[in-house]
Amino acid sequence: MKRHIGTALLLAPMVLFVTMTLVVPFALMFVESVRDTDVRNVLPRTIEALEGWDPARPIPSGAYGALVRDFAAAPASEWGRAANRLNREMPGARSLVLATLRKLDAADATDPRSALIAQDARWGEPGIWRAIWNARGPWTAAFLLAALDLERGQDGAIATTGQSIYRAIYVRTFGISLTVTAICFLLGLPVAVYLASLPPNRAVPLLLLLMLPLWTSVLVRAMAWILLLQNNGAVNQALIFLRITTEPLQLVFNRVGVLIAMTHVLLPFMVLPIYNVMRVIPRNQLRAAGSLGASPWVVFRRVYLPQCRAGIAAGCMLVFASGSGYYVTPALVGGGADQMLGTFVELAALRYSNQSLAAALGVVFMIIFLSLIGALFAWLRPMRAATEGLRA
């Protein structure tokens, strides 16, 4: 009993930390992706007056008065978010709302409809009211749909939007990440094999060298790669000097630059897990297999490599997971067509101030990502059962 309490106490800080930094933010992100309270917070009376409204029918008469009262109630400083939210439903709504808000007098409550239409004729048309109705909240699927390039039409049906923005980005993001994983695997496996064959005192300094990219700032790394890979950079000058090519190759501000820069920093994540697993493989197994008549290649393929699968799986998952989230490096060393999902999350969150869309992009990304990781895990499970037997 005492041991259980002791264990629980030791684990408690980590559990608390993971909950606060992982579970809670994810939960908040899910909530934010469906939250739609910007308009509801400043137009409560108007939304109540529009209760049960069918946008095909005329505007309820009480709505105008409710709007004027809402305008009078909240100060202009709180209207930014609501105006922007409405603008997403109806382009032009932002300036319409903010302009009317400033010029409208509370005394116009006597005939709110005429007063509003006198400010701007659009208040008499259903457009802005439909926008308020669509943005009434408190929750909506609109942002999640937008993150999948879908939208709910007037009739309520879900259809693809005209501009396919994000689907191609998901394909591109995970495509780049998988490519980088594959390159890191091809480059990292031989390195891990070599390091595992060295005694620890020789391997550790080499491992430290391998981890050097992790100790530099991401911006410094990106700038260094630009300097090396640009048209008159060191790499191109070397290639031309060695007569491998006569014209400089475009190695940066395109996909090549992105792959090079990402592999550079993610390679240690592939090598270290594989190295750790390889280190504990008993050497006498390999010698035994050789003495039973297996060639070096067969020993490697059928005795050595299967036991490394856990390490390979860990390395691949680490590289894939890290790589999927990269966006600063691709933004700096890549071209316009190499931007990954993170760029769009940043654009939505910071530039467009559309936190809900940013959260929705994150939710869709997480679902796709977890599916891919789950598939990788499931694919490797049977292998692990096989290696269990081998070790016993």
Binding site: P75, A76, S77, E78, W79, G80, R81, A83, N84, N87, P91, G92, R94, S95, L98, Q163, I165, A168, I169, Q230, N231, N232, F253, G335, G336, A337, Q339, T343, F344, L347, A349, L350, R351, Y352, S353
Partner: protein, 346 residues
């Protein structure tokens, strides 16, 4: 005994954090050579005169960035920001800036009209346009239309990652007279026309975020022609002995203003700083260091010919140039930014 020592050390650490919570006045510029000039002309002399410490940092624009800071609630982290013309308008309408208390700005009567607005105090007149390396492309004359001519001038083109300025320049390159650019741009056909023009050079487009990157791309030869800002070209020519040329006809000039973010804890210090930066002498020093025009008329008059000739406000430089239509961008920056990012990413 040991436990008491540890507790005492921890308490001391906590107590020492106290003064650190009060934030110094934070002024945000656009980085690079222009900000170095601001530091020398404004930040350091202001701190020396008033004893108020100034921390300066840089940003790359976008009212959404400021919106996010203010709407997050509490201290926005930044106090005074140098904002572009339509960023001032949009943010003011949304209430994310503190209205300027003009009674505290002593030089109000000496400022040019474009520098006076509800939420902003104008600080510089600056120009955006195309530039190229004369050592590589010759002495020209090269026009705005040549930016889109990949046959006569092959090579990459670098532009800012945003729709402002490039859409106007694309229309001008497509033959729209300068004084009709914004009328055309207000129509959906006009916007499509501008994007179609950009589409013709899309495969050779590079994007940069900061002004300094535009100069770097031009200097390294990575880009043959770039969209950039006049003072950066002047600075590169003076400090790095470059032979860059800024294309003045067709360039677009605008006024940047200091704004104060709402809920800033350093409002009084911010107003004092803006007042200092609006005086004639600091502005004169600033314009000698970086080729942006002052907003204080006394400073404009005090500048000699050899300095004035690089400024956007100089007569010959204004021929063929147009003023930025801040109202147009205030209405359309959001939608056109989204469309531009979609264009860039696909």
């Amino acid at each position: 005994m040991k436990a008491r020592l540890i507790i005492a050390a921890l308490s001391a650490t906590v107590a020492l954090q106290g003064p650190a919570f009060a934030r110094d006045l934070t002024v945000i510029g656009w980085g690079g050579a222009p900000q170095d000039a601001q530091r020398e002309a404004y930040f350091v002399p202001f701190a020396a005169e008033t004893g108020i410490k100034v921390i300066d940092d840089s940003w790359t624009g976008g009212v959404g960035v400021l919106r996010t800071r203010v709407e997050a609630g509490g201290d926005p982290g930044w106090d005074v920001v140098e904002a572009e013309a339509e960023e001032v308008l949009v943010g003011c309408a949304e209430g994310i800036y503190e209205p300027i208390d003009w009674s505290k700005i002593s030089e109000k009567d000496n400022l040019i009209p474009a520098a006076i607005s509800e939420c902003g105090v104008g600080t510089i007149t600056w120009s955006t346009g195309f530039a190229y390396d004369q050592d590589k492309l010759g002495t020209g004359p090269i026009t705005v239309a040549d930016f889109f001519d990949l046959e006569r001038f092959p090579g990459k083109r670098a532009i800012r990652k945003g729709p402002k300025y490039i859409l106007e320049l694309a229309l001008m390159a497509d033959g729209v007279p300068a004084n009709q650019v914004y009328d055309v741009l207000r129509t959906p056909e006009g916007v499509n026309r501008a994007f179609n023009k950009l589409e013709t050079i899309k495969s050779d487009l590079l994007y940069f975020e900061s002004g300094a990157q535009s100069i770097q791309l031009l200097a390294s030869g990575e880009a043959t022609m770039v969209l950039t800002f006049n003072a950066r070209i002047t600075a590169a020519n003076e400090t790095d002995n470059r032979n860059f040329k800024f294309i003045w006809p067709g360039s677009i000039y605008a006024v940047d203003s200091w704004v104060i973010l709402r809920n800033s804890p350093n409002k009084e210090a911010a107003l004092k700083f803006i007042d200092f930066a609006s005086r004639a002498k600091p502005q004169e020093i600033h314009s000698r260091l970086v080729a942006y025009g002052p907003t204080n008329t006394a400073a404009i008059e005090a500048l000699p010919e050899d300095v004035a000739k690089d400024l956007p406000t100089y007569g010959p430089n204004m021929e063929g140039a147009i003023a930025l239509d801040a109202g147009f961008w205030a209405d359309n920056i959001q939608a056109l930014t989204e469309r531009f990012n979609f264009f860039a990413a696909h």
